[in-house]
Symmetry: C2
Subunit: 390 residues, 2 copies
């Protein structure tokens, strides 16, 4: 096990009706609130009204900024920063999915910084402070409700970049599984792919002697896969919704990745796809991950065989472990197909036009490699995207 630090200050309130505590929890901070959200779905579902009522009942002063899109935009972040400064906001309440939470975090670090907030995402500066962020989660996926991460798209530059820093963890998050009953199947499935990817990027490690976190990772993957079939059958299965929601938080709050090297190549490659094509992040991942696996599994056949056996109950072939490893990758692909996710770029009507461009962007023109389980050059990434093609 590697040395590690772990610190997660986010207070979690989980279960039925917890969103009704938004007002009193905000009030307790004494701050003026920015209510930050996306499109119309929270208005249609009535959640917006319940949150506004909760804020009003608790006598919380607030202003609003809606309009966050999937793959949240830098332009709106900048608008939010100005608004927070002008209104002397002390807490950003993000109501929505990971995009809204990520946007809120970007605003939060931007407010506390004299320069351009995009500096943080380009690695040109490191944030030292964040205006407190709280989350009412409506889409279990990104894990942003307890993670130290935010991903923002710079639409002008066709760039999608992530920022990870311990100060980005929210103050508190309200997770009511019932709020996810009305998610379209496709969005539920994309969220499931995202949280599975968060676990797999921790699971495929080069660190030896990490039995506990191996097992914790396997527990989350098995649960998510099992409950995914249940929720696809019955979107109002509370238990399935609750298990998936809590799994999404645990998948990305770092607890299960402590002390192990990780490999975030698939997320990096996917960001290039969704930066250009604006596809759902989870859908990009269900395409990239199996291709990444096919490209790298020979680096550690044993680990992929374990994945197959422990997560998908594939019988271990003692005389041919490679076949077990490949069967695991096939099972993952089949799982994604079963929940109607794309597994090839062609399933999303993407051809090979931009493969070289995407491989170039993720390696800054081939100037560096990415990955840790296996180091990937620009040409490796082109190969992965070609494996993903059709």
């Amino acid at each position: 096990m590697l040395n590690f630090d772990f610190y997660n200050k986010t207070k979690i309130f989980f279960g039925k009706d917890v969103e009704l505590q938004a007002g009193s929890l905000c009030k307790a901070t004494g701050a003026k609130v920015l209510l930050h959200y996306g499109g119309g779905s929270i208005k249609k579902s009535g959640l917006y009204d319940r949150i506004v009522k909760s804020l009003n009942d608790a006598d919380v002063q607030f202003v609003e900024l809606g309009g966050v899109q999937p793959n949240p935009r830098l332009s709106l972040v900048k608008e939010g920063i100005e608004l927070c400064r002008k209104e002397k906001i002390g807490l950003i309440l993000a109501v929505g999915g990971g995009s809204v939470a990520d946007s809120a975090k970007a605003i939060g670090v931007g407010v506390e910084y004299a320069g351009d907030v995009w500096d943080f995402y380009m690695g040109k500066a490191s944030p030292e402070k964040m205006l407190p962020v709280a989350v009412v989660l409506t889409i279990p996926a990104a894990g942003s409700e307890a993670s130290p991460s935010s991903v923002i798209s710079n639409e002008e530059a066709e760039l999608k970049k992530g920022l990870t820093n311990i100060i980005l963890r929210p103050e508190f998050s309200l997770l009511n599984p019932e709020l996810t009953y009305t998610l379209p199947d496709y969005q539920t499935a994309c969220g499931i792919a995202d949280m599975l990817a968060h676990v797999m990027e921790r699971y495929f490690t080069t660190t030896k002697g990490v039995e506990l976190s191996d097992r914790l990772c396997e527990s989350v993957m098995k649960t998510v896969i099992h409950q995914a079939y249940r929720v696809m059958q019955n979107p109002e299965d509370y238990t399935a919704r609750a298990e998936i929601m809590w799994a999404g938080t645990i998948a990305h709050n770092d607890m299960i990745g402590c002390g192990r090297s990780q490999d975030w190549s698939s997320h990096g490659i996917e960001h290039e796809i969704s930066a250009i094509y604006d596809v759902a992040h989870g859908a990009g991942l269900s395409v990239v991950f199996p291709a990444w696996m096919k490209h790298v599994y020979k680096s550690n056949v044993g680990r992929f065989a374990r994945f197959a056996h422990e997560v998908f109950n594939v019988d271990y072939d003692f005389e041919n472990p490679e076949s077990t490893a490949l069967q695991g990758i096939a099972e993952l692909e089949q799982f994604f197909r079963d929940i109607n996710l794309p597994v090839r770029l062609s399933d999303m009507d993407i051809d090979d036009t931009n493969i070289e461009k995407m491989a170039s962007k993720v390696t800054d023109d081939g100037s560096h490699t990415i990955g840790g389980f296996k180091e990937l050059t620009k040409s490796d990434i082109q190969n992965i995207l070609n494996l993903a093609l059709k």
Copy 2:
């Protein structure tokens, strides 16, 4: 899944040499420190000298209070409270095992309270504030390094009582597995029994639909049992020591118990044994737990069969699940024997003299029941202790 809140503010620093950060971390708080510890073992091992040097190098002002015993005493807690007040202490640095951490927490809440600190442990008052506590852990067992709990023995009253409150979580904890190399086998084994009990008391639930936390609990138990055999073979196996140490924290930081009813009967019954006989807590647990299981398994044979199958790889007997359940209990007993822990009261030279007294104390003279998986009356507890007798 039940509604739940989860909040764990403890910063964890884990791995080789992390104790050398004690000075700088204490310094960052700006506080004058009470260095709190037990007997001579940290002096013999050189840890005391390293901590003192780290504090001095960082120019931290501190005073000392040693002498914490296993089953930490209320009398020393009261001494610590007086000392903290007199010296205007701002942070208690506990260097040792769970007893030292628990004693530090008791001092911490006592300092902030005008009344008798024992009120908190008797449920007569609830603490609102705790002087910050930090921990350098030397014995993985109690989980106190990240838990919201403290257990104190009132030697005059022959009472051992626990206090759980979210404010009791330490500020930070330093966990170096190498510090546990020199633990005697018996103490290592007692710690293992304690952390297993922390998981089992969460695992044996009446809550349905908790797949993720079931699996997380099983992951911790399997890892602890597997690594226990390794550490007994080679006490300086870093991986085994690290896995056990981290498992001990996760077993009791509440993450794996979120959203499920729990049953802390075995801890409650054990506290009565060690209050009278002053046996090691873990040894008391390895005696009580199997007896508790034999008394209650019929309440949910399926859960015990799952425990047997998932944790001990017992083949599931479809035509006779009860035999699977019983085999799991036998496997647990055998595991405790394998690591040289007692499994009967007679193994600790305890006879039936005080059985009625202990059953009476844990139920306040039979005035209430304990437990949740199965509600236990005074006579149930007498039965459990008789099952544990020989």
